[in-house]
């Protein structure tokens, strides 16, 4: 049985008292002769050192120890020696099958090879026969030396044993101990905490307090936590509110192809409308279309025949395609619906700014950066005579509120915006331009069939909520951020979001050692 902490402490103190120091605690043995665990000694030393009764230093050394396999070899002899013994015992020699039967297949295989190499045995007429009368089991002797001394004089052999996974290096820790300023063989009881009782009685004046460990962590407060994605969402919402945006009613996950694609001037043969990209709905089937049949017809016409200054896509537009229900692939389906309502609002069009942050669905194969669900952050500004300069200038202000200042715009293609501009920002950590969002002016073929006046232009932009969150919190796998596999510890320990401050990976000090 391991000695109690008290008896261990008293052993250390009495040893120190008689010998005045302990050069190495490996030499300490308990009175009943049992070996002492150095970890337990460390515990006792720590608590005595905290009382300044002693000081101690670590002694670390490397010791070679035998692996379980090597312990077996030490006990029963090396494979080759075992093979030799069996071959020698069989006076007429024996077949490989006999050998396997006697020592097992594995020992026979490994041992035979080495025994041949050492020229202990040979093959004669299909039988194994001995070449020498006596052999010395060198391996066994080497393992014995390691076991007894923790080392082997011949470093080359040692390396070979290590390679054969017969020996392994183990770090061992022990301690050298000296008396401390408050050395005594008796331990005075120390109080850990100041109590109301001590204050009332005044006993605190005479009480000795235990040294506080300032390196220890505080007690984590009990409490709940909001999800990191929702915290980032809140920051985005605040930015939108500060800039006068109204939140769109995105609580419609099921969408008609009309609002998800056709009304946005996405042609019916567009790859995004393929089965492998979009979730289609089996039940229920067949969306209703807007009551405004003239609008529905204008949408069909602009695809099929053109109009509003466009030659259109000129393909046969099919009503059954427009009625297919899907899980929305973007929140732009809602923006489109809202713009249609804006165009047809009582009293006519008025300038408007809208935003949304909500879930979208893609029939994607799941990997570290893709999930079938994610959140889209989307903004829309509708006004007369907006310019590309307005778009760029607005994006600069918007992203500056997140601490992202260095922006660049690249031409891109998107079926419902023209021009389409990918927004890049220079990431000082990654030392390259990274795409942070998409933007553009909605096409006239989308806006004018709604009834928006010709001079009205609409800026739209979007980004995923997950991507900036992953950068902010240093998350590499989206599944560690969204979905049921997210760790509650991760949720509970995440810092508050301050988009204008560096966080996570961004906050690593330049020149600091990399993890």
């Amino acid at each position: 049985m391991a000695p109690s902490t008290e008896s261990l402490q008293s052993l250390i103190l009495t040893t120190l008292d008689t010998d005045s120091s302990i050069p190495d605690t490996l030499s300490l043995t308990s009175p009943d002769g049992t070996t002492l665990e150095q970890l337990q000694i460390q515990g006792a030393l720590n608590s005595l050192a905290a009382r300044e009764m002693l000081t101690y230093k670590n002694i670390t050394r490397d010791t070679w120890v035998l692996t379980p396999e090597a312990e077996g070899l030490l006990a029963e002899g090396s494979y080759e020696a075992r093979v030799f013994e069996v071959v020698r015992a069989a006076l007429e020699g024996l077949t490989i099958q006999d050998l396997q039967a006697k020592v097992g297949k594995e020992v026979a295989g490994l041992g035979q090879k080495a025994a041949f190499r050492n020229k202990w045995i040979k093959q004669d007429n299909g039988k194994l026969v001995k070449c020498v009368d006596e052999v010395e089991d060198v391996t066994q002797a080497q393992l014995k030396e390691v076991k007894e001394t923790g080392n082997l004089k011949n470093a080359k052999v040692l390396a070979d044993l290590k390679k054969r996974k017969l020996v392994a290096l183990q770090k061992s820790l022990s301690f050298s101990v000296e008396k401390g300023p408050k050395f005594s063989t008796t331990i005075q009881k120390l109080e850990t905490d100041l109590t109301a009782e001590m204050i009332a009685s005044g006993s605190w004046r005479k009480t000795e307090f235990k040294k506080y460990n300032f390196n220890a962590q505080g007690v984590p407060p009990a409490g709940g936590a909001l999800h990191p994605l929702m915290k980032v969402r809140e920051e985005f919402r605040n930015i939108f509110f500060e800039m006068g945006f109204q939140e769109m009613p995105t609580n419609k996950f099921v969408e008609s192809s009309f609002w998800n694609f056709d009304a946005l001037f996405v042609p019916q043969q567009h790859p995004a409308r393929d089965m492998q990209d979009t979730f289609f709905i089996k039940d229920p089937q067949g969306a209703g279309l807007p009551d405004d049949k003239e609008y529905v017809q204008r949408v069909a016409d602009v695809h099929e025949k053109g109009g509003f200054g466009s030659i259109g896509y000129r393909y046969p537009y099919k009503e059954e395609e427009t009625e297919k229900l899907v899980l929305r692939t973007h929140t732009t389906s809602i923006s489109t619906n809202i713009l249609y309502k804006l165009a047809n609002a009582p009293g006519g069009f008025k300038p408007a700014k809208y935003f949304s942050i909500d879930r979208v669905f893609r029939n994607e194969s799941v990997d570290a950066t893709h999930l079938a669900e994610f959140h889209q952050v989307e903004g829309v500004i509708a006004d007369y005579n907006l310019t590309l300069g307005d778009l760029i200038g607005f994006m600069e202000t918007f992203f500056a509120k997140m601490g992202v200042t260095n922006l660049r715009f690249k031409a891109a293609y998107n079926p419902y915006t023209e021009p389409s501009m990918e927004i890049f920002s220079y990431h000082s950590g990654l030392k390259r331009w990274v795409e942070i969002g998409n933007s553009g002016l909605f096409r006239p073929e989308m806006l004018e069939p709604m009834g928006l006046p010709k001079g009205v232009r609409v800026i739209g932009w979007g980004l995923s909520l997950e991507r900036p969150t992953m950068i902010k919190y240093g998350v590499d796998n989206i599944r560690e951020l969204l979905g049921h596999k997210v760790s509650l510890g991760f949720i509970g320990s995440n810092p508050a979001v301050r988009l204008d401050k560096k966080m996570g990976r961004e906050a690593v000090k330049e020149g600091a050692a990399a993890e």
């Binding site: 409490g223 709940g224 939108f240 099921v254 979730f279 393909y315 999930l371 293609y413 760790s487």
Partner: protein, 592 residues
């Protein structure tokens, strides 16, 4: 977005200069394409020999003219002002080739276009680019050959006039490309299907049709069986100089785009570059008799004031025309003040509206050179969506009460949503997906419980008790809605520990109600407020479940707005949760 692999050395030779990877990346950025990878940075070694370095370039999905090195080089050279845009023109043969279309083709694949390139000089890399362009077009614009299919032939092996017919599969007999024996089309389709040939995926386009489309030459030799395969006899090779290109289609517009792209990209290698020999197509039954292809640029107009207004610039008409020329659009100021006459070459099928012309002007000007402004007039008022505001209030209260917010997925398996909760699917509630890739995504959840329970399962190692919540939407079928479904905002909380904790979840319910100023009341009093009443619900342990009733100010009758209780051990077993749990699920819409 398609990615095109181009030979780096060849492209730089065509561009007339070397670029560093960074320089070329910049050029791509300015033009609106994207350098995805430069393989010379990490060369691929095959049999000890490094492969020729490639540039992998992402191009916009509507720019079919950039799907090969020939098109990319031309466009970049025009953009850099190093080259005039090519002037494609038809050169008629003394004895023009004709192709006659039979009315039967209406049943399966009604449209065809044909063109001839004369004196083409292939080399191995040009040849593979020619093949690769067809693949790219087939995969993208042609929707895997369903809309358009391209066949290319060595014209010197066949003889016009040609016919485009539709015949019974058994009647079509020929030696298909890469085969040695003759097949009839019916057996050939079965062969491709069974042999797991890469052609198998095109078979369904015609398989069940009573007639298959086929192109014959004057001597009844099969040229191709579109959209599946060409004949071995007419196959093109490196040595082919006179190339016959035929395209068949179900979509007339895309047919023209495809044949035009093919001739525009590869006429550069003709004896006289950019010339195309037309073919006379006779197709009286559907009014498609014409000379093919039509390479005349499309004439359109654009308003200079519109371009200036959108770009926030004050350019002269001439300046705009200069910008457009760099994007291969020939534009001239017209007699009318504000109008530019613009010729859209056959390579620019992406231009539908003057907004596309405006975009080109802006790209040529440089997006990053445009003046930065701020939308000045849009003074608007910020406002949250009411249900989001409500659920945010409840989320914060729940977190302050010591519960942790989780965010499971909205899609789940049918079992998780029903049988694992001891619930039956009566077919009236859940929205079901038609094409999920895995069983994880079969239905849109009708309850928040499955996701929250899965989150508990994945966090079994956390210290107990586990207290988690979610405020989000579930979806129900609803015939009254335009989209045949509606979302409902819910709140769900689950406690998991050594003991079931019914009273803990009850306490959270009370707290939320207090925060919403909804008072506890009892059923008999007819006072507004909420009360709970024991219920029988398979999800919960018998005798440990209650409905939450609510009577609001403007409500005639009290309604059940939620349910909570000790989760049934069978439910916990299904979700592999080794603890006792209580759960609460509340509809938030009524508290709006």
């Amino acid at each position: 977005m398609p990615t095109v692999n181009v030979d780096k050395a060849d492209l730089f030779e065509l561009l007339g200069r070397e670029y560093t990877t960074e320089e070329f990346d910049e050029l791509c950025f300015d033009f609106g394409i994207e350098l995805d990878e430069d393989t010379s940075l990490d060369p691929v070694i095959v049999n000890g020999v490094p492969e020729r370095p490639l540039l992998k370039i992402d191009i916009p999905a509507n720019r079919y003219d950039l799907l090969c090195i020939e098109g990319i080089a031309t466009s970049l050279n025009v953009f850099r002002g190093k080259q005039e845009p090519p002037n494609f023109r038809l050169v008629e043969a003394k004895e023009p080739i004709t192709l006659t279309v039979k009315p039967e083709t209406e049943q399966i694949r009604p449209y065809v276009a044909v063109a001839v390139l004369r004196g083409v000089k292939f080399n191995p890399r040009r040849y593979s680019s020619f093949i690769a362009l067809q693949d790219k077009l087939h995969n993208n614009l042609c929707r895997n050959r369903s809309l358009v299919a391209i066949g290319t032939h060595d014209l010197d092996t066949v003889k016009g006039p040609f016919t485009y017919e539709a015949l019974k599969p058994e009647e079509i007999k020929f030696v298909p490309l890469s085969q040695t024996k003759e097949w009839n089309a019916k057996d050939l389709m079965e062969h491709y299907e069974q042999e797991k040939s890469h052609l198998g995926r095109y078979v369904p386009i015609i398989k069940d049709s009573p007639v298959y489309p086929v192109i014959y030459d004057a001597e009844r030799r099969v040229c191709s069986l579109p959209p599946i395969i060409n004949s071995e006899h007419s196959k093109i090779s490196l040595d082919t100089t006179n190339v016959l290109i035929e395209c068949t289609a179900t979509d007339k517009t895309k047919l023209e785009v495809v044949i035009n792209t093919m001739v525009a990209m590869f006429s550069v290698y003709c004896a006289e570059p950019f010339t195309i020999e037309p073919v006379n197509i006779v197709s009286e039954h559907n009014g498609c008799t014409r000379q093919s292809p039509n390479v005349t640029p499309r004439k359109t107009t654009a308003e200079a004031s519109y371009i200036n207004s959108v770009c926030g610039l004050k350019l002269s008409n001439e300046e705009i025309c200069t910008l457009l020329k760099r994007m291969s659009l020939a534009a001239t100021p017209s007699s009318q003040n504000d109008i530019l006459d613009v010729s859209i070459p056959i390579t620019r099928a992406d231009i539908l509206h003057q907004c596309d012309i405006m975009e080109d002007a802006a790209i040529a000007y440089g997006y990053n050179n445009l003046p930065h402004t701020f939308p000045a007039n849009s003074a608007t008022v910020g406002q949250p969506f009411p249900i989001n505001k409500l659920s945010d209030i409840i989320r914060r209260e729940a977190a302050q009460a010591g519960w942790t917010e989780v965010m499971p997925l909205i899609l789940c398996s049918h079992d998780e949503n029903f049988s694992w909760l001891n619930r039956k699917d009566d077919g009236t509630q859940a929205v079901k997906l038609a094409n999920p890739k895995t069983a994880e995504y079969q239905v849109v959840r009708t309850s928040l419980l499955p996701g929250v329970l899965k989150t508990v399962r994945e966090n079994r190692k956390e210290a107990l008790p586990i207290k988690v919540f979610e405020a989000s939407d579930v979806v129900f079928k609803d015939e009254r809605e335009e989209r045949r479904a509606r979302n409902e905002r819910r709140f769900c909380a689950v406690w998991a520990s050594k003991t079931a904790g019914f009273e803990v979840v009850h306490g959270l319910l009370d707290r939320i109600m207090r925060m919403l100023s909804v008072n506890p009341t009892d059923k008999s009093s007819k006072q507004t407020g909420y009360w709970i009443e024991e219920t029988d619900d398979g999800t919960f342990f018998p005798g440990r479940a209650a409905n939450v009733w609510y009577l609001g100010e403007e409500m005639e009758e009290a309604v059940v707005v939620g349910v909570f209780g000790v989760l049934h051990p069978e439910v916990l077993e299904k979700f592999e949760i080794p603890f006792a749990c209580s759960g609460l699920e509340l509809n938030l819409e009524v508290f709006l």
